[in-house]
Amino acid sequence: MTALLLNRDLLRRALPAITLAVLLVAIFIKQPLAMSQFGLTLMLQYAVPIALATLAQMFVIAVNDLDLSIGSFVGLTTCIAGLYLPTEPLLGALLLLLCIAAYVAMGALIHLRNLPSIVVTLGMSFVWLGIAVLLLPTPGGKAPEWLHGLMNLKVPGVPFPIIAAIVIAAVVQIGLMHSSYGVVLRGTGGNPKAVARAGWSLLKTKMVMFGLAGSFGVLSGLSLIGLTSAADAHIADRYTLYSIAGVILGGGEFIGGRVSPVGAVLGAITLALAASFLIFLRISPDWQIGAQGAILIIVLALRAAITRGSAR
């Protein structure tokens, strides 16, 4: 009985990894070329900024909120990075810090006025986009050299995106899941009243979590412009939905503070790879969009099948 329970729990935790593995195998079968350092680097490069954005979303979801602005926020940070970092690095860094501060303030506002985060972040998504359009009415800007170099780093033997993903996942996993303050942060999502009754400030935990979300949003923007080498206000609009999907794919839940950083990173990579897989399948353009939906459904249905199969 307990063995079965343990097993199911283990399975549940391993699910994001299993899903990813299945997808990778399918890709390798369809396109053996992908199974090389070059191939993996190409396929996974763009998963890095998505993974960072997904982690940003995860911090917010962990305290029972939802961030509908992360996509346009990442867009804005690419604009700031593209415009100022190469020429006026200090100003650029300052502006990026200001962005993070705005996120902290957003968390404080949501907590103090007890507002639905969906509306506040929806409103902020307009604000971010508006500022980005004001800064950069038409795509342009340029990634600073060091950033471009970093994102295109070649490490012999291992594709760089994989190293990046492991490092990112490990740092957040330790910080949030194993550190002692991480417990308080997650507890805020699980039972805020209990955390408050133990004498912790909920305002502070909210602000910390939103600050972390903002920081990872900035990192996502930086890594993104390092790849694209130019900025665009709309560059990451899609990240909002992707990041939410990534968190859920990674085993997170919308309420109750149940999240998994490693899962979220795996979820983000899975999403990125799912799109690649579709391209290898060569579906008629009419159904290429639909196939994206279908693959999401299949991936998640797989989860359901595994958890249910083991539950019996």
Partner: protein, 490 residues
């Protein structure tokens, strides 16, 4: 207990109102070192409110909070309370379900940080759990959400007694035994006595007067926001205590008077077999019977009730139910109340299909039902349109009770439904149950209180998800039930 021990806390003239409701009308309360103070009173008397004030989670409207002789009322907060060695186990549990047992321990102790904190937290809570309840089967790595209600209660209590940096002088236990079975409760209370012997103080709130009388040194009785009696425990007996609470007792003898009925006299309305059952033993209920589900907590009684419920509203293998059912949840927080709704809506939700006129809910009939149950089961509120959360815990439970009793259900499933209900109300509810049973309603009643089994016509004892004994009313003795509860199943 003759000499007055050193005082730890002393509340003076504490008053608190919620809108029109005067929850505390100037209360004085003092706790000495090394004392177990029993606090009793009817549902809504103001016990939890007073404890919330003491724990720093609720600011009083007026009054002094003296700790070790110093008035700290200004700027009093949870942190101040903790720093002064006061902890509280609240009536509604305060653990984070997404965290592990060890992590929940860490939440209470800012000092548990740095390298290896997880091991330290785990050790701390494990030692305490072992001390209270050897063989508890809870590991520090378990996620709290996966534990049963009783286990969660154990964890929270054990957590309250762990010590790191801050001193620990007083632990408030607000109905700690409500979700525990009798033997676990006993172990817990023995532990409380040991702590008290070590010089710690405990405030114990309970509606099980036996516990109060046996384990506390001094008893304080509250009524309508005031302290109405205060005496050493040995100067109270059950009747005088009940009398002090303002309840008139006349029912006691009546229990034995119900005639024992022939089992086969009425048709079978429920037949259910547990999935874990290896033999043919099934739970059977005839119309008009009160069936008791006994055994230690968490041995499959709730699961059986859920199984019967699922069988009644849908289809379920091994379950045959004749007639509409209603369910009374004991874990009211997670499966009972609708927190956004008024008390009235919480009461009527199960009966809405009956209250439709032209497909719309008839608000007059709804109000009528709410009002009549307010009277019958004595829900203490100025207005049934108030939010359900404005009720005291016991009164919330009464609303959940009223929901089922007021419905058209012929079979009522009760999952330890008296949790937190005060003595007076309990006695009245027992009367209602018997009257309803006589009128043909069937009750399946899981209870952790041995006394309540006296009201049952037939009892099934559960162990490890199985029925291990099938006891009729005549054969029933406490001895027999306990024996079967511990018996390794055949």
């Amino acid at each position: 207990m003759g000499t007055q021990p050193e005082q730890i806390v002393s509340l003076k003239g504490v008053a608190k109102s919620f809108g029109a409701v005067r929850a505390l009308a100037g209360v004085d309360l003092a706790v000495g070192a090394g004392e177990c103070l029993g606090l009793v009173g009817h549902n809504g008397a103001g016990k939890s409110t007073l404890m919330n004030v003491l724990a720093g989670t609720l600011a009083p409207d007026s009054g002094a909070i003296e700790i070790h002789g110093k008035d700290l009322a200004a700027g009093y907060s949870v942190t101040v309370a903790h720093r002064n060695g006061i902890r509280c186990v609240f009536q509604e549990l305060s653990l984070c379900p997404n965290l592990t047992v060890a992590e929940n321990t860490r939440i209470l102790h800012p000092a548990l940080k740095g390298f290896g904190w997880k091991q330290r937290a785990g050790r701390l809570i494990k030692e305490k759990l072992d001390e209270i309840l050897p063989g508890h089967g809870i590991s520090p790595g378990d996620t709290v959400g996966d534990l049963s209600l009783g286990q969660r209660q154990m964890v929270e209590i054990a957590r309250a007694f762990t010590v790191t940096d801050d001193p620990l002088h007083l632990v408030i236990l607000d109905e700690p035994t409500s979700s525990l079975d009798a033997s676990t409760a006993q172990q817990l209370l023995e532990f409380v006595r040991r702590e008290v012997a070590r010089g710690r103080s405990v405030i114990l709130i309970s509606h099980l007067l036996g516990e109060i009388l046996r384990y506390s040194d001094r008893v304080v009785v509250m009524k309508d926001g005031k302290v109405v009696a205060e005496r050493p425990a040995d100067r109270f007996d059950r009747d005088s205590l009940v009398g002090a609470m303002g309840t008139v007792v006349e029912h006691h003898a009546a229990v034995q008077a119900t005639a024992v009925r022939e089992r086969s006299g009425t048709p079978v309305v429920v037949r259910a077999k547990s999935a874990l059952q290896t033999d043919d033993q099934a739970l059977v209920a005839h119309r008009g019977e009160i069936i008791g589900l006994a055994g230690l907590a968490g041995h499959g009684q709730t699961r059986m009730l859920l199984q019967v419920f699922a069988g009644a509203v849908g289809r379920m293998h091994g379950v045959d139910v004749q007639g509409p059912v209603a369910f009374i949840a004991g874990d009211r927080q997670t499966e009972g109340i609708f927190p956004l709704w008024s008390i009235a809506r919480n009461v009527t939700v199960r009966s809405l299909p009956r209250m439709l006129r032209h497909q719309l809910v008839d608000s007059r009939r709804e109000a009528e039902m709410a009002e009549s149950w307010k009277q019958r089961i004595k829900i203490r509120t100025p207005d049934m349109d108030n939010n359900i959360l404005s009720l005291s815990g016991g009164n919330q439970q009464k609303a959940v009770f009223a929901r089922a009793l007021g419905s058209d259900a012929e079979i009522v499933l009760m999952d330890d439904p008296m949790r937190g209900v005060d003595v007076g109300t309990k006695l009245e509810v027992y009367d209602i149950l018997r009257a309803e049973a006589a009128a043909g309603r069937t009750f399946l009643w899981y209870t952790t209180e041995m006394d309540e089994l006296n009201y049952c016509d037939h009892i099934y004892v559960f162990r490890n998800g199985r029925i291990v004994a099938d006891v009729s009313r005549e054969e029933m003795t406490e001895q027999k039930i306990l024996q079967s509860s511990f018996k390794e199943s055949a």
